[in-house]
Structure formats: C-alpha cells, structure tokens
Amino acid sequence: MKITGLNAGCMKILEVKNLKVYFPVYGGFLRRLKGYIRAVDNISFSVDEGEVLGIVGESGCGKSTLLKTLALLLSPTEGEIFFYFEENPIALHSLDKSARISIRPQIQIVFQDPFSSLNPRMRVWNIIAEPLLLHSNLPKEKVKEKVVEILEKVGLKEEHLYRYPHQFSGGQRQRIAIARALILHPKLLLLDEPTSALDVSVQAQILNLLLELKKSFHLTYILVTHNMGVVRYMAERIIIMYAGKCLELGKTEDIFKKPFHPYTHALLHSIPRLRKENKRKVILLPGEPPNPMNPPSGCPFHPRCPYKIEICEKISPDLQEIEKSSLVACHRAEELNLEGIF
C-alpha cells in the first residue's frame, strides 16, 4: 500500500521502545571502567509512514547517536527498535550481520557535512552507484540508467557523473549525498542536520528538494536539527531531546503554540527573530547542558530550570501524555501554563 501526501498515513513504520545507548568510559592507570556516557537514555517513540519527525536538541544531547542507532551504525545497549517492512515487524536491535545487510536498503542516512561524507577519491558515478552494486546485481547499463535518473531527480545533470566531489559546491555535494541515499529507494530516510553546513540560500533549495523527493518517493523522514526554523518548516511532529532524554513530544504547531516543558519554552524564546516588533522577552538559561558522564539527579534539566521544586532534584519525571498527542516529562507541566511564540 502506498500512501501519498501529508498526514495520510497512520501506519507505523518504526517503533522505538525504551532505547538506551551507553558508551563505556575507561580511565586511570589500569584502564578501569569509570562509568558510562548515557548518550541516549530510555527513549520511546514511533514514526508513522509518510511523516516527518523532527528531533531537536542542543549539541551533545544524543540526537546524532539516536539517529546512528536507527541507521544500524551503532548497536543499542538496551531497548527495542522495530521496523515495519511490508507490515512485518523486524527487530532491528537483534539482527545478525546478514539480516542487517538485507534491511539496510530500506533505511538510509544523509550526514551533516557533505565535505566529509563523500570520498574525495571517488567520482560521483562511483559514489552513487556503490549502494546499487552492493545490494543488487543489475547489469551495468541498467545501473547507469538508474544513477542518471536519480541524479536528475536531485537536480544535477548527467555531465556531472564523472566529476570528483571537490568540483562541487556544498549544496551540490549534499545533493549527491541525497542521491546516494535514495538510489536504493529506501522507505525511511534519516537526515542528520542536512543543511547546517550550508548557506541560507542553499539551505532553502535543499529543504524544498527534500520535501519534493518525499512526495515522489513516498518517503518517511526523521530529521535531526538544532534549527527551530528548519524543524517548523519540515516536521509534523517534534521530539525535544535534552541530555539523552526525551523531554517533550508533540505536533509541531502545538509545541510552538503551547510548550509544556520549561526547556522547550526557553528554546523557543531564544530563537532570534527577524523583525524587532516580534521580539519577546528572551529567556536566558543559566549554565550549560549537563555532563553526560555525570548527569544530575532527578530531572536532567533541574540545574538550569527556573521553575524547579524539591521533587525535581530527586525524581526523574516520566514522559506522560498531557494532552492528546502531546507528551511531556515534567513534574509541573500542568500548573506552569507556559507561553508559546504564536
């Protein structure tokens, strides 16, 4: 069954349950285990087919780790990830090597920096054809046909086929990276800050291209970004991450109109505005995000939170439904009544 257009799908494509990704840290003379970096700490969510899910957070909050785990580039420490392929759930967390390879064509990733994600010694042709040569045994003419087709889809031309990455601008390189990810016609495309290395004018080109491709390839996106403008433009739902945890999950418009978590609130109010008359009181958060080696007790946000009470320092709040399709992890979510920016 193919679903076209926005908001049409309600079929799950991905389900993440209590996912934890920890990295051990060794130190001292004997390289003893000193502790763990909790990059992703107990995160659950699901993605519907055909939607764009945005993951927002500051650097170091674990959003890229989460994405790499979903792309099968890292293995989870605990928890479950199910990918629904032709309506059968596939447990991504417990795949063996051959099964992992066979599922890879369905989940592809586009990385942040197109200057380091393309091999400088490969021609565009080799870069884009490589996934096809690995995962299918099409004859060579057919491969070329497909490469040219995808190249034109992302806005490049056949004449670019035998050039090297250094001959392209940043935006064009990101187009090549997108072509490489799409050549296998994946179901799910993971985008790790796809435009943060690009200029504003080129950023808009790439964002529009991604929306166009989503329609024509029936894709589902998980978009990681720290730019609130980009996430509002692209995503239908947003996850707000902080220190490896999910603080808030909800529909984009709802979150911008009425955030429930004090961190989301501060995040929204620290976005610079283009027009002075729209300027509201900027909320400045004291301090810095916590050290992932040594997270604070209780709620991870409490050291910077202007609304903290005693319980925040002791008990970490669970993610709870506060309104229809809005989830928040805050002890005081209901009483705070925070103001959005619309």
Binding site: A204, R273, L274, P289, I341
Partner: protein
C-alpha cells in the same frame, strides 16, 4: 557631522597567489561611528571575513590591499591603516588596545597548552606593563566574572579542553575586551554554538559594548541574529556591498533583489508555513570576470543593462543605499 571611528573607502583586495590575480573585494565602503553596532551579512565566500582581516592587516599570505583607504580616527589623530607597514610598532597599540577581534571557532583560537586565565591575562602582560602580575591577575579574574564565567578563581587555572564551547567563547571575549578596545570585530561569534547559548552570548556582547562604550562590528551569515543586535547593516555579495542602511529599514523593506530573496529563503518563524523560495544558483567564482552586476545570473528582476554595466550606489535616503539599476532615477 562627527567623524566616524573607522572608515573604509573604496577598498580593493586582490589575490596574487594565482596565475592571473583576481579581486576578492571590489571597492567596498564602510563607516563605523563610536558606540555604533554595525553588521555585515552575506553568504560564505562573499568577503565578509576578508573585510575584517584587512582592518587589522592580518590578511593571509598572497592576498593584498590593492587600493583604497582604511582610516582610523582616534583621540583626534588620524591613522591610515592601509599604508601602515606590517612591522610598524603602531600596530601593537592598535591591535588589542583600539581594535580587537573574536572568531568563529573558539576552540581553534585558544592555546590548548596554557591555562585560560593566563591567556586572558596575556594582553595585559604585553600592553600594560605598569601593572604588577598580581594586579594583572586580579583584572583577568574581574573580566572573567564580567563575561559570566562561573567561579573565575578556580577557572583561572583550567585548560581550554575542560571548558564547553560557550565558555570558550566567553574566554575569547574576555581576552578581546580586557584592554578596553574602542572597536570589537566579532566574526561569526555564535555560529559554533547552540541556540540557547547563542542568545546568552549575543546579550553579553550587547551589554558589554554598552558598558565599555565600544563599537561592534558583527559579521554573520545569519540574518535573524542581526535584527536584534545591530543598528546599521551592510549586505555583501561577491566582494561588494550591495545594500546598506538602518537595520530596521533594510529588513522591513529590502530593496536589492539579493536581500529580499535571502529573506524569502529563510525558514523564519514569522512567516506562515508555506513553501520557501530558494535562491537559484550559487555565488559566482571570484576568478570569473564579471562585466555587469554580480547578482545578474541569479536575479529574478533583471533588466537589460544589468548584464553589461555594473550598477552604481544609489541613495534612497540619508540612511539607505542600494546598488541596483531598478532604483535609478529616470
């Protein structure tokens, strides 16, 4: 009218490291008055950073000022920065004491082998020799407090790798401001930082420039941080200033097609959710010879003569200038 603190007149910068030397800046003009906050905005590669580097005469090798003037008016004296030789002792006074600079990537500009406190103190060691070490240290600690670094005494002995990105940028700001310069050049000071930290750093720069009565030259590619920070804005494209004037006027009623399409390409929160209008194409290669307007190939409103004749600077009113044929008086 009073004299500006710094004035750049018809500045041309060429790259001589090529078989055919080519211009990187093509006759730019810039004025910064004392206490004024000025912004330069443009895409990467348009020459924003070069402008800043040329003010301090720290251009990379092979890139030289071909013609034009950079004039500093300070204490009733006039210094021509463009003709001051690189080894002139006057530079020591100008850099740091009158003009100071902070950079984009704070971790690259800090020495990883020295404690941050010492690095903040270092300008004092060279410039204020009258102070004793103890006084210098006290002043450094005072400034660390001023830029909002927590526990300055204990942080004084820490190394850059122990600090987060936002804290490192604060260290760099303290280092740049410790000699009370008259002008601070901030080259993309918040690009490497997160949104919440960015808001903090911008607020800090604004309040410090007020407190120390300092002018600020903010260089950025992000139009939205400009709106809340600077009074006067210069829009740069391919080595030229294409539009300049009061920030509010420029953002409210942009005249040059480049600025208006740049604003349209921005996924800002103001606009209702609709399709962004991207700017087609990319910045022209500086090695190419351009006859007419540099924006011609990407422009949506081009006229016949744009291709052949470069547009002059056209005055719209006292505070608004634009380089585009569309606004020529018939």
């Amino acid at each position: 009218m009073s004299k500006p603190l710094l004035k750049i007149e018809d500045l041309w910068i060429v790259c001589e490291n090529a078989p055919l030397p080519y211009p990187l800046l093509k006759g730019i003009n810039l004025e910064i008055y004392s206490g004024e906050k000025v912004g330069i905005v443009g895409e990467s590669g348009c020459g924003k950073t070069l402008t800043a580097l040329s003010i301090l005469n720290i251009l990379p090798e092979g890139i030289k000022i071909e013609k034009g003037k950079i004039i500093l008016f300070h204490n009733q004296a006039t210094v021509s920065l463009h003709s001051l030789p690189q080894n002139s002792p006057q530079w020591l006074k100008i850099r740091g004491e009158i003009i100071s600079m902070i950079f984009q990537e704070p971790s690259v500009y800090l020495n990883p082998t020295l404690p941050v406190g010492f690095q903040i103190m270092e300008p004092l060691i060279y410039h204020s020799r009258k102070l004793t070490r103890e006084q210098q240290k006290r002043k450094a600690i005072e400034f660390m407090g001023k830029v909002g670094l927590p526990h300055p005494e204990s942080l004084f002995h820490r190394f850059p790798h122990e600090l987060s990105g936002g804290m490192k940028q604060r260290v760099l700001i303290a280092m740049a401001l410790i000699l009370h310069p008259k002008l601070l050049i901030a080259d993309e000071p918040t690009t490497a930082l997160d949104v919440t930290i960015q808001a903090n750093i911008l607020k800090l720069l604004l309040s410090l420039s007020q407190e120390l009565k300092m002018s600020l030259l903010l260089i950025t590619h992000d139009l939205s941080i400009i709106a809340e920070t600077v009074d006067k804005l210069y829009v740069m494209y391919a080595g030229e200033m294409v539009e300049w004037g009061k920030t509010e006027d420029l953002l409210k009623s942009p005249l040059h097609p480049y600025l208006s399409s740049l604003i349209n390409a921005l996924p800002v929160l103001e606009r209702e959710k609709k399709v962004l209008k991207p700017l087609p194409g990319t910045l022209p290669d500086p090695r190419e010879k351009i006859k007419g307007c540099p924006f011609y190939p990407r422009c949506g409103k081009k006229l016949a003569k744009c291709k052949e004749i470069p547009p002059p600077s056209i005055k719209i009113d006292e505070n608004h200038w634009v380089k585009c044929w569309m606004y020529e008086n018939p």
